[in-house]
Amino acid sequence: MIYGINDGLVASFVLLIVVVAEGLIALYLSRTGRAHPKIRKIAGLEAIEEAVGRATEMGRPITYTTGLGGIRDQVYYQTIAGLNILGYTAELAAKYNARLIYFPYDPTIIPMAVDVMEQAYIRAGKSEAFNRDNIQYLGGDQFPWAFGVLGAMHREQSAANIHMGPFWAESLILSESGFYTGAIQIAGTANYHQIAFFVVAADYALIGEELMAAGAYLSKDPTSIGSLWGSDWAKITSIALTILAVLLTAAGVTALLDFFAL
């Protein structure tokens, strides 16, 4: 152990502290009104309202999935991000009187999804329109679940398909078969090996961190948006460190590389 920190994690801890500090400072500045960061438009999130409106006009439902995530895996943060967008979508669906069907993969998120959707219907002033039957559990295995969703998309002739969360091989199955139903498709994942499939097959795609930023973006809450500003600082720090490490290594100085190995 070095300075009480486990071996191999010293640099990771220092960088974590830097990123957290940048996030907290940005959050503090926006909460106290000392800074008013602006956020660029994210086309995929802006398109959700269009998708819900289209579903209302066509009288057909919207299908929503949060991928293969639950609360027990390492990609839970993507599931949480997906649930945040589910709340926004459910509120729009309630407002426009469109039917939203959600297909959870992991049973651990069913109670959370019920709460999120119920809250959304209450916010829209349509609590009586909330129907628990629109949360349909299809089983917790990858391909049976994916084909359950696919079957539902075809049977219900959904007007919009939204997939937000951790996806693996089923990403293309869902988005490509959804394309053949003629639905508008919005998808996002932080599983970088699946991003290409969504970019190719969906109408709008959220790439990586855009998914995590969605909750803050949709809330329009200045404090949350402030933390996104902090993530920009962290990215600038990462880029600066990378360039510095390249220059120092080229000059024969390995101090920074040695530090990263700690």
Binding site: F147, E176, G208, G215
Partner: protein, 220 residues
């Protein structure tokens, strides 16, 4: 349910557990009693998962049961689902009865159903992915824009570099494909990965501080 139970207690649990996990990862040595204790703590998730499994089963049976009783849309499919679930449950209980094993250990009848039915159907579904890839590639590789043209060019080079015929045609194709994978592809992927990691840390901060709580229940 009061706001304290529904909102503040979950937020407090989230915050405390988050801090404990950070401390355990960085400061507690692997194999130390304190680290083992935190591992045990994460084991409590299994209890939640086991309970949630029952909730999932109830939600599934309720949904399809209601559909069958109302002769709703596609009620025949719902009947098949219910029969499937109940049959598998019976097989599992029968397996436990004849082999005296715990439910978590797959008995012979359960393994048989899994290997003879499920595995084949699963593989069939997975293999359909090849056709989906082909149709998606056809649409993506059409020369509609500059980006699609670059995608087409890179895709063609990758195909020639990875398929045996490419190397026969010109020995440079495999090298180009390897370079494309190792240099521009790796650079792009690493940039995305760094962005995702930072985004995940900031999302965790928003959750630990209770700034982002869209995943919690109604505020009433």
């Amino acid at each position: 349910m009061s706001l304290v139970v529904k909102r503040y207690i979950p937020l407090a649990i989230t915050f405390v557990m988050g801090i404990i996990m950070v401390i355990a990862t960085y400061f507690l040595e692997i194999g130390s009693p304190a680290r083992d204790a935190t591992t045990l703590l994460t084991g409590t998730v299994d209890v939640i998962v086991a309970t949630a499994g029952v909730i999932g089963l109830i939600v599934l049976l309720r949904h399809h049961g209601v559909n069958v009783s109302r002769r709703g849309k596609y009620w025949k499919y719902s009947t098949i689902t219910i029969i499937g679930v109940i049959t598998y449950l019976i097989v599992a209980v029968y397996g436990v009865a004849i082999q005296g094993r715990y439910l978590m250990v797959a008995s012979e009848p359960v393994s048989w159903v899994y290997n003879q039915l499920y595995a084949h159907m699963d593989a069939t579904i997975f293999s359909l992915l090849a056709f989906f890839i082909a149709s998606a590639a056809y649409r993506a590789f059409r020369l509609r824009s500059l980006e699609a043209s670059v995608l087409l060019l890179v895709g063609a080079l990758m195909l020639l570099g990875r398929a045996p015929i490419g190397g026969v045609m010109w020995e440079g194709f495999p090298n180009i494909a390897t370079w494309l994978l190792n240099v521009p592809n790796s650079a792009g992927m690493r940039a995305i990965t760094i962005g995702i990691a930072i985004g995940a840390i900031l999302l965790a901060i928003r959750q630990l501080m209770g700034v982002e709580r869209g995943y919690l229940g109604p505020e009433r």
